[in-house]
Amino acid sequence: MASHSHEPKVTVLPPDKAKIKKLWSVALILLIITVLEFIIAFTVPHEYETSRVTIFILMTIVKAAYIVGEFMHLRHEAKVLIWSILIPMVFVIWMLVAFVYEGMAIFNTRL
């Protein structure tokens, strides 16, 4: 590639204040949820394992939704792109349920 000494004229636009503010508020939400996860991990006793796990999974899904929707901008993309990404994840959810169930069956046969 030949190097050119002439640089192109670039017009720099001013910062989009509203957009930047939105991004920082998403970051704040993510951090608050993470702190809440910590608080729950150390205040809710281990005897309530099912409710602990349920809360953690719900909070993880909320965090994932913010990261994918806002940071990765998927929420603002075309509908067909959103569904092309989200629908295949259904298989993952099914696989998780099926394999954890399978693991419990293995546990019972080992007893």
Partner: protein, 248 residues
């Protein structure tokens, strides 16, 4: 079918007939999305296998204060990961991994700010935010190196397994619980750490190209966006690893 119709009808045009981009995204961005989808399957496979093996092992069901490491049951993660650098002997469950989560989320924020600056063709701002993202990524890798070292070397009282004192963990022996637990720790955090490493390399490439004015000459900063997608995905995976490996 009505036979009375004689007017010539224009065939129905669909967005899929060509000439337009139905997903409203460039080729490169779409390919990054579908690569990330396939990568999500890989990580899901690792985490789901963890779920399978964990639910096939007995859990610890005594009082949490009397907890001791034993290969007889699956360990409680907060008892395994309770150390932080420079504070030897201090019990700080999950604090270090919390700091790592914070670092990765912050580096995701600086990445998205770099993308925003790229949309405005603001080279100086892209350079600044890319540099912060690289710093965040390297810090995370450093933290992980410390965490691995601590996990492998082991501290405190050894666990007696078959009459042998076991310190730390490797792929066949594990101070903290069944060997499977250590195997999953190495594979899941290792595979994620490898993604962080390649992400830092890509980020550096973008930073280099920005500094040398490649994207100014090209007329757009879309590469920042594509690598940004990858970097956010790495952060997203960590959110799941944090929950399923450390919290649950």
């Amino acid at each position: 079918m009505a036979s009375t119709s004689t007017s010539v009808q224009t065939p129905g045009r669909s967005v899929w007939d060509g000439g337009v981009s139905p997903m409203g995204a460039s080729y490169g961005k779409l390919m990054m999305w579908f690569f990330l989808l396939s990568d999500a399957f890989t990580f899901s496979a690792l985490l789901i296998t963890y779920g399978l093996v964990r639910s096939a092992h007995p859990g610890y069901d005594g009082p949490i204060d009397d907890y001791v490491f034993s290969p007889a049951y699956w360990p409680v993660p907060e008892k395994v990961f309770d150390a932080i650098p420079f504070f030897h002997g201090l019990e700080a469950p999950l604090v270090f991994v919390g700091i790592m989560t914070f670092i990765l989320i912050m580096s995701s924020v600086t990445m998205v700010l770099a993308v925003e600056a790229g949309h405005r063709m603001d080279r100086a701002a892209v350079e600044k935010w890319m540099l912060w993202t690289i710093v965040g990524g390297l810090t995370f890798l450093g933290c992980q190196a410390w965490e691995w070292t601590h996990f492998i070397v082991g501290t405190g009282t050894p666990t007696i397994i078959d009459g042998v004192e076991v310190f730390g963990a490797n792929l066949v022996q594990n101070q903290y619980g069944p060997p499977d637990f250590a195997d999953f720790f190495f594979f899941i955090t290792g595979f994620h750490g490898f993604h962080v490493f390649s992400g830092v390399c890509l980020n550096f490439l973008i930073y280099y190209n920005t500094v040398t004015g490649v994207y100014d000459r090209r007329g757009h900063y879309e590469m920042v966006e594509k690598v940004g997608l990858y970097w956010h995905f790495v952060d997203l995976v960590w959110v799941f690893v944090f929950t399923f490996f450390y919290l649950v």
